[in-house]
Subunit: 286 residues, 2 copies
């Protein structure tokens, strides 16, 4: 049974927030879907029909909302909790879409006070190298997983209703402790972004940057696709999850060193062994 | 005007050789397409209809062929030139599909003698993380580029006819000096494979290998796709192009060091600068 909200406030209407708003509108999950975003994103989201209306500031968006979705970049979302806390109603549910959960939850706990039990931390595993309202689409979450990180204080009814909202826009809800989430996403997303940026930069800053653009095959295109992502957005995510990312970097550097040693020594058996552990794992990812 | 061959010999009928054979058959470019491969690949290619017949050994395949395509892995192809040289006819054309060109050309020059001017070194920029005859398909080269590395000795008529063969199976032929080819492909293919294997191994050998398989998003799937490639095949390619690969690795390590320094120092501006050079370059790759 899908719940219908009177007013859904979506703070941040880029790729993720815009897609949440568009999905909620297309499934009529709210009578009004109200967006807020600084700069041109808000007007663009309104023009694209992602939201029903725009609010002048985050507080005005949240006023009277029975569901608030915070979908701004990581450092912005932390500040938004404090900006909207005094406008959150006594029954209002909250959720977010931030890529890191420990710092987001800590900021929410500090800012939201009595409303914190109605905040259900979430991370939808969806996205692309594109960003902004123009990249949003109502089916972005179809078939994806949304990780939920309920806290000891989290209200059971709020948890159930927010999980149902995420499932109503197409995602499959799975619980995960916030610590586990942040370590896992350092490994499968944050560190790979940093590594791919470095791989691209090595080519971009070298003498064959133009020829590489001309002759790259499908392999390089796929490998480097996330290298087109927003530098500022990913710098914030990586720094927010700094310790876990540095642990992944250390594990990578050990493998890199073994690989380069084998290449330097022309040790084919050792090189095949390096590649084989990787290949056996990757063949299981379907 | 597409030339029709009486007998096309394809040595190695995996992903690349099998696709060349299948493309030649489907376009009726040869009266007979004869394959050779050691082990089960040959029988599999015959069963899949990639070739008209199988030869018992490379020499038997080449006997009477007016076009010979060497499409075996890099170290095998070098040996094949010597194995077939005395069976190559006085008019026979030769081409190959090896991922590295300097060593292949050197081996051909040494082994082929009077036939060397009729050998047109080639590298079709096509492939996938899959390998073997079952991965072959007649349209693999549609829209792709084939790099040709003609030598001072290369016969102009042989060059023209071999280029026309590659174009007849769907590729666009572009000339490139072999040195430039090998340096460029270290950068856009060989080194990225080694780096992606190391990225996968860092995850595979860590405590979250299973969760990573379960929760990886589209980004990690694309980034690591080439990590499912054949370890032995890529170890041989990387070692064959060792110096150029190590140069790319050094450039990568400089970028990696700058990235990790910025993360360790929590220097957002420096981190954005690292990511930005990468992102600006990658956005131009379409």
């Amino acid at each position: 049974m899908v719940e219908h909200f009177r007013r859904i406030a979506v703070l941040g209407v880029g790729l993720i927030g815009g897609s949440i708003a568009a999905a909620a509108r297309s499934r009529a999950l709210g009578e009004r879907v109200v967006g807020f975003a600084p700069g041109r994103d808000g007007e663009e989201a309104l023009a694209l029909g992602l939201v029903d209306e725009l609010a002048a500031d985050p507080g005005a968006a949240v006023d009277g909302a029975d569901l608030v979705v915070l979908a701004a970049p990581v450092p912005v979302v932390r500040g938004l909790f404090a900006a909207v806390a005094h406008r959150v109603g006594a029954e209002t549910l909250l959720t977010d879409a931030a890529s890191t959960k420990r710092s987001t939850i800590a900021a929410a706990r500090e800012a939201l006070g009595a409303a914190f039990p109605r905040f259900v931390p979430a991370h939808p595993i969806a996205g692309s190298e594109r960003h902004g309202p123009a990249a949003a689409r109502p089916d972005l979450f179809g078939g994806c997983t949304v990780l939920l990180c309920p806290q000891d204080e989290t209200d059971a009814d709020a948890y159930r209703r927010v999980a149902a909202f995420w499932e109503a826009i197409g995602a499959r809800a799975v619980d995960m402790p916030a610590d586990d989430h942040d370590r896992l996403f350092a490994e499968v997303s944050h560190w790979p972004h940093a590594a791919v940026f470095a791989l691209c930069a090595g080519i971009a800053e070298g003498p064959r940057a133009e020829d590489a653009l001309r002759f790259a095959g499908a392999g390089l295109r796929d490998t480097t696709r996330i290298g087109a992502s927003s530098p500022g957005l990913w710098a914030d995510i990586v720094l927010d999850n700094r310790e876990a990312v540095l642990e992944c970097a250390a594990a990578f550097e050990r493998e890199l060193r073994a690989t380069l040693d084998a290449i330097e020594r022309r040790d084919r058996a050792a090189l095949v062994e390096c590649f084989d552990a990787a290949s056996r794992w990757r063949r299981r990812l379907r």
